[in-house]
């Protein structure tokens, strides 16, 4: 599911979480091995109501070190409809995971200070800001370098690899 992050805008209701939310909480696949089960249990150890009440288009706002712990993708968050994750900081592996699976995730230091749980947040990547639509408060989003934006556009790193493979095999055929 590729998308052009350079054009990305989203507006949604905020689910706010604290610091150092671990991938065991996001993706407790040891206990719930299928996606259908995961959707019923994601984030429940922090917010038991989350799996039932999350709606497509909602936005997650998190504190520091989001996605610490094991290397596990957050695909379930996309499956339940989370449109974007905005974090004070992201664990490096979760950030890599999100880029490699083209899940919209943004680092925006200060974001937890401008929005409360349940309020509406607007993400404007081209302008490089997130804005609380009620108060008007905003903070800057860190932009990705063009090479990373391209991975989002391809739909993830495996898809990016496939495009490269097709390009290189076509070039090799032309040469021979």
């Amino acid at each position: 599911m590729g998308f052009d992050i350079r054009q990305m805008k989203a507006r949604g209701r905020v689910w706010k979480f604290g610091d150092s939310i671990e991938t065991d909480a996001i993706n407790p696949y040891y206990r719930y091995p299928t996606m259908e089960e995961l959707k019923q249990h994601t984030m429940e150890v922090y917010r038991p109501e989350f799996p039932q009440q999350v709606k497509p288009g909602d936005i997650m706002v998190t504190g520091r070190n989001f996605g610490c712990g094991s290397s596990r993708p957050g695909l379930v968050l996309r499956e339940v409809g989370i449109a974007a994750i905005i974090a004070e900081s992201v664990s490096r592996l979760f950030l890599r995971n999100s880029i490699s699976r083209a899940i919209p995730i943004f680092v925006a230091p200060g974001v937890t200070g401008i929005v409360q749980d349940g309020e509406t947040l607007e993400v404007d990547y081209p302008k490089g800001v997130v804005v609380n639509t009620k108060s008007g408060a905003s903070v800057a989003i860190r932009k990705y370098p063009p090479a990373i934006e391209q991975i989002f556009e391809c739909g993830g790193l495996p898809e990016f690899a496939y495009e490269r493979y097709l390009r290189e095999t076509a070039a090799a055929r032309t040469r021979s």
Binding site: D24, N97, P158
Partner: protein, 426 residues
């Protein structure tokens, strides 16, 4: 310009062939790729997801990919057995040379046991604890299963050159392992993201006294501090360890005098108390005295953090002439068959079993809800990697982390206690 270890590592591996500095993005050439049990995600599912209908068309280098089906040996479910079998067929089809599918143990420990990692190499693994190879001066880090697919195909991967943090450990090595206490102390004092995306360089007067086992614990736990790399310089102990296992040449990494560090932390380990992490986060750290008297139902030593010879040796030494407290399940899982064998030959297993401990097949199960589940209201103290809610089954159970000595003391006392109160004369 003076370079950190990370700058030197990534400059040497930069496909563009020029030096890189902190903050630069690059495409790096990979020396080794470790796929553990998520191999099926990286090799098979990612290939289909990408568009390769018949799976990976080839791999970049049959000699440099190491597939070790570690988490589930022996397999505990039909589904896992089927997954392992599918990986075996792919490994055979693709001609990957190094394949361990019939040996229990933790992939990271086997990578080191079998000399598959050498100083100065850039090694990636589809597991967060891949940082552990930094103990032998390798630039090693965890990547994702989707990243691994790219590596399998091209042997290349994008990186950003990390900032570096220098952690200086001063003091004397006591007669028991303290690596776990050190890393818990750092997480408690400076936060569990103190090294977020950074490269840790360990230094100080303690380092030369640290066993390779202790260095593995510290490097492995780099990820619990947020790090990308967690490296030690190569010394005599490193070269003895590496040269006993491989005759391949290598080029060591060391930072230059004057290299730029974003942070420096100094720790006097002689002044450090025994540390524990309370439920449910690694950074929820306190001196062991703060949890004194907490009754336990389970105690554990194992995992890629603490399943090594010295971790098991201290348990066996302390259990001699003592018994595990009634009602406490004391599970001990060597990190690999090689470690298990070393423990057997040294007579440790006999002492453990006599004292009432249970020895579990090497592997990752002890650190997950796979082996030794906890029930609601139960308390476990464990020398493994993580204490998240639900990590051992019930979300109503409580998990404390501690070093192997602290865990053994709790197993004997039946409650969390300062080891010096149980083992006098330490």
């Amino acid at each position: 310009m003076a370079q950190t270890m990370a700058e030197k590592l990534l400059s040497r591996h930069n496909l563009a062939g020029k030096p890189v500095r902190t903050g630069d993005f690059l495409e790096a050439r990979i020396d080794g790729a470790m796929c553990h049990y998520h191999a099926s995600d990286s090799m098979i599912e990612a290939a289909h997801q990408a568009g390769f209908k018949d799976g990976l068309p080839r791999v970049w280098d049959r000699e440099k990919i190491y597939v070790l089906l570690d988490h589930h040996q022996p397999t505990l479910t039909q589904k896992l057995a089927d997954e392992n079998a599918a990986v075996r067929r792919e490994v055979e089809r693709l001609g990957i040379k190094c394949f361990h599918d019939s040996e229990p143990g933790i992939a990271h420990q086997m990578m080191l046991d079998y000399g598959l990692v050498r100083p100065g190499e850039l090694v990636v693994g589809n597991d967060s604890h891949t940082l552990g190879y930094g103990s032998v001066n390798a630039g090693a880090t965890g990547i994702t299963r989707a990243d691994m697919f790219y590596v399998l195909l091209y042997g290349e991967l994008w990186f950003q050159v990390p900032e570096s943090i220098r952690i200086v450990l001063d003091g004397r090595q006591p007669q028991y392992p303290i690596a776990k206490d050190i890393v818990l102390y750092i997480a408690g004092q400076y936060g569990e993201d103190v090294a977020q995306s950074m490269s840790i360089e360990y230094a100080g007067s303690l380092v030369s006294q640290l066993s390779i086992d202790s260095r593995m614990c510290l490097s492995t736990h780099g990820v619990e501090l947020g790090a990308k790399f967690a490296m030690f310089e190569s010394d005599d102990a490193t070269s003895r360890f590496v040269k006993a296992r491989t005759d391949k040449p290598y080029e060591v990494l060391a930072s230059d005098p004057g290299a730029q560090f974003a942070k420096e932390i100094r720790i006097d380990v002689d002044e450090m108390p025994f540390m524990i992490a309370k439920p449910h986060q690694f950074g929820n750290v306190a001196p062991v005295e703060e949890a004194k008297g907490v009754r336990i139902h389970q105690a554990q030593i194992g995992s890629c953090a603490n399943g090594r010879y010295e971790d098991i040796e201290i348990a066996a030494r302390m259990l001699e002439g003592r018994k595990v407290a009634k009602g406490v399940r004391f599970l001990i899982s060597p990190a690999s068959q090689q470690v298990y064998l070393q423990c057997l030959k040294a007579g440790l297993v006999e002492k453990l079993v006599e004292a009432g401990a249970q020895v579990i097949t090497p592997g990752c199960g002890i650190c997950q809800p796979r082996v030794g589940f906890l029930s609601d209201g139960e308390v476990c103290i464990t020398a493994t990697t993580r204490n998240f809610k639900g990590r051992k089954g019930s979300t109503q159970a409580e998990i404390y982390l501690g070093g192997p000595l602290t865990v053994t003391a709790a197993a004997v006392a039946g409650e969390i206690v300062n080891p010096k109160e149980v083992f006098r004369g330490l």
